[in-house]
Amino acid sequence: MKYIKQVLGGDLRQYTMVVALGLLILIFNVISDGRMLTSSNFQNLLSGNAYVLVLALGMLMVIVIGQIDLSVGSVAGFAGMVMALVAKNYNVPWWVAVLIALAIGILAGAWHGFFLSQLGIPGFITTLGGMMIFRGGVIWISRSISVPAPEELKWFGAGYLPEWGPSFTGMNNSTLVLGLIGIVCFAVGQIRKYNRSKNSPVGETPLWAVVTRIALMTVLIGYFTYLFGSGRVGTSFPVPGLILLLLTIIYHIITQRTKFGRHVYAVGGNKAAAALSGVNVKRTYFLTMMNMSFLAAVAGILFVGRSTAAGPADGTSWEMDAIASVFIGGAAVSGGVGTILATIVGGMVMAVLNNGLMLMGVGADKTQVIKGFVLLAAVAFDVYNKKNGKSSIIGRIFSK
């Protein structure tokens, strides 16, 4: 027991949700006769859920500051529709259309941020308004008709990395390189941490624990590299997955390592105390809301790319999926608690549930019921543990 603790570097209970995710995957894999853990299914899983997870990244920060954003689905739909329309009607290159969509996201976010930070209107109301404004806007500008998107965008929403180099590796070499980078980064990070722990007052982490940790992670990343890389020729780790991965790393760093990130947690934890200690609360509110809508535009672009067309109903109720992911990932309803990585795990739990139940042929009605119970159970479990004086189980996964 003690050894395992040392390997994982902390309280075992932190890993409940990760273990649940792993078990879920394995159970579905057994029930579906091995159709869960296949290259194509995991590629689909990532391509098909990247947009929700991208939204969840922004939503985590919004929830941490103690607000909520209901407009993300509508903003995503609106940005995607503007992009498709601009590309179709004004004959501009696809990347110009993408930049316009991102700009729309930023403007929409600034709009929400302005009302929240300057006028002090609660985020719930501001974004409820935004939800209606942008949903109406989508229908208005599209005249309720789907608009085909530029062909190039498909790469963002459903594309794969290039094939190159020798074929003796037996996989897509882009994916292989990606996996190797992942392993090296993890190992380097662990070794640096180990070196630092030599001088720490808590005491040195045993070397064997560090080595085991690296070995376990190598196996895990190696397995997924193999899974993603060994699919049909021409497929690889999917592009939307890569975009999600990059955004996850960026936002993990922003929330954990930067001043702005610390301000986000400070404002969410105790607004008054944060203001007294010199945190610019208004600015934090504004930037968080702006960032959310920016990510909503990214999600909209990914989705349009995958669908090959922007439709008038795009984005309907996406906010709910994003919010569910954040809470399953252990964020606190009252704000101040929650991490990016735990949110991704929470989102993956939802995605895997969805995917596994579909593979089993369970209908949409029952899937919905099951997802509802899972959300409730995860949050109840979290709250129960907090009440009993234990630290938030899920919420602090990986933090520090």
């Binding site: 789907s146 669908s307 579909m358 949409a364």
Partner: protein, 380 residues
């Protein structure tokens, strides 16, 4: 608790490790690429010559059916009929509905590919938003048949089974004219126009078909569209939502008919027809002549009692039977059956298998439903 967590963690680790080490690298690099290239070439020639050998499949093959939702009677019927008739024909059906969500449908189709389906029948939520997923099905060697609605903007579709949608619109308009002459005396007649959900590629076709009959009559003054709204986007009903149609009718009546009588309304389906009739009743108008579509039970009753003038039956049974006939042909290795009609879906010409719809009024209801005991039951 702790022990169990520990145990499961160990399990995860060992299983992950076992799976990882257990699989030898098996990407047949260059060789596979060659075959892939060949298949693409083959696919290219298929499109040009149209006559090609199609690989069949064995008995008991998995057939996926992805429907948009189960919220109207025709889709619920389709779900039940596909399940029963595919099983009867010796296939293994996976029939799922997407709850009107494009994302859900995309994922369902992917999981059908994953489940090894040989044919996937798709009644799309939005016919133009399945491009990437259907191309994935095509690459996996799955046949894709569009059901009831055209699949646009993708090369991954082999054919579409549907009722002639322009024809349906023509029939609706003819029934409306016939009803007006029968019930509302001498022209001119005051009418209003309703269209279906714009995301459904059939909806503009219904409207176009109907307008091809109505426009000449509007031009010669027989028909008067009092609100002046004759453009499809003005008349469309988002998502085929009855509530939206009812509120549009409410405002049309309030805005234009305070001193006039409404004589007829072109309605694209039965749900919207009933919403329109309800709205007219609430506004104190005499019930106008209203067209419909789908022969839903409630509307069949209304047609029988004279509240709704007509509906158009698109017997789901015929559509399902035709689809299964195509699946049988694919199974035998004969490919898609020949057809006269082809439609450009934006990327390629798609074979369309059109079935004729049937107008139902009180006069012919008993004949039309002679072989449909459940609906015949309603005509009493």
């Amino acid at each position: 608790m702790k022990k169990r967590t520990l145990l499961s963690m160990a399990m995860v680790a060992t299983m992950a490790f076992a799976t990882f080490t257990g699989c030898g690298g098996s990407r047949e690099g260059a060789a596979t690429t060659d075959t892939a290239a060949e298949t693409t070439e083959e696919a290219a020639t298929t499109e040009t010559t149209a006559e090609e050998s199609f690989p069949g499949f064995e008995d008991g093959a998995t057939i996926g059916v992805s429907l948009p939702w189960l919220g109207t009677q025709n889709w619920k019927e389709a779900e039940e009929m596909f399940t029963a008739q595919l099983e009867e024909a010796g296939y293994k059906p996976i029939v799922q509905a997407a709850d009107q969500k494009v994302t859900q449908q995309q994922q369902q189709i992917e999981s059908m590919i994953e489940n090894g389906a040989k044919v996937i029948v798709v009644g799309p939520v939005d016919g133009s938003q399945l491009g990437a997923v259907l191309e994935q099905a095509k690459e996996a060697g799955v046949y894709v048949i569009g059901y009831d609605r055209l699949l646009e903007n993708t090369s991954g579709v082999d054919g579409v089974v549907q009722f002639g949608s322009v024809k349906t619109g023509e029939l609706q308009a003819q029934a409306l004219l016939q009803g007006l002459e029968e019930k509302k005396g001498e022209p001119p007649y005051n009418i209003e126009l309703f269209g279906g959900g714009p995301a459904d590629p059939n909806a503009p076709n219904f409207f176009t078909g109907a307008m091809s009959v109505l426009q000449p009559k509007i031009d010669d003054g027989t028909l008067v569209v009092v609100s002046g709204q004759t453009d499809f986007t003005q008349c469309a009903t988002v998502d085929w939502d009855n509530a939206k149609a009812q509120s549009r009718m409410d405002s049309l009546l309030a805005g234009n008919y305070s001193d006039k009588e409404i004589d007829g309304v072109l309605s694209p389906n039965d749900g919207i027809a009933r919403a329109i009739i309800t709205s007219c009743e609430n506004a104190g108008q005499e019930i106008p002549v209203v067209s419909g579509l789908d022969a839903e039970n409630e509307s069949v009753e209304w047609v029988w009692s004279g509240r709704q003038y007509s509906t158009v039956a698109k017997p789901t049974n015929d559509l399902v039977a035709k689809t299964i006939e195509i699946i049988d042909s694919l199974k035998a290795g004969n490919g898609m059956p020949a057809t006269d009609v082809e439609v450009d879906n934006g990327v390629k010409n798609v074979r369309i298998y059109e079935l004729p719809p049937v107008v139902v009024t009180k006069d012919n209801a008993k004949e039309v439903f002679a072989n449909d005991p459940s609906r015949l039951e309603l005509l009493k």
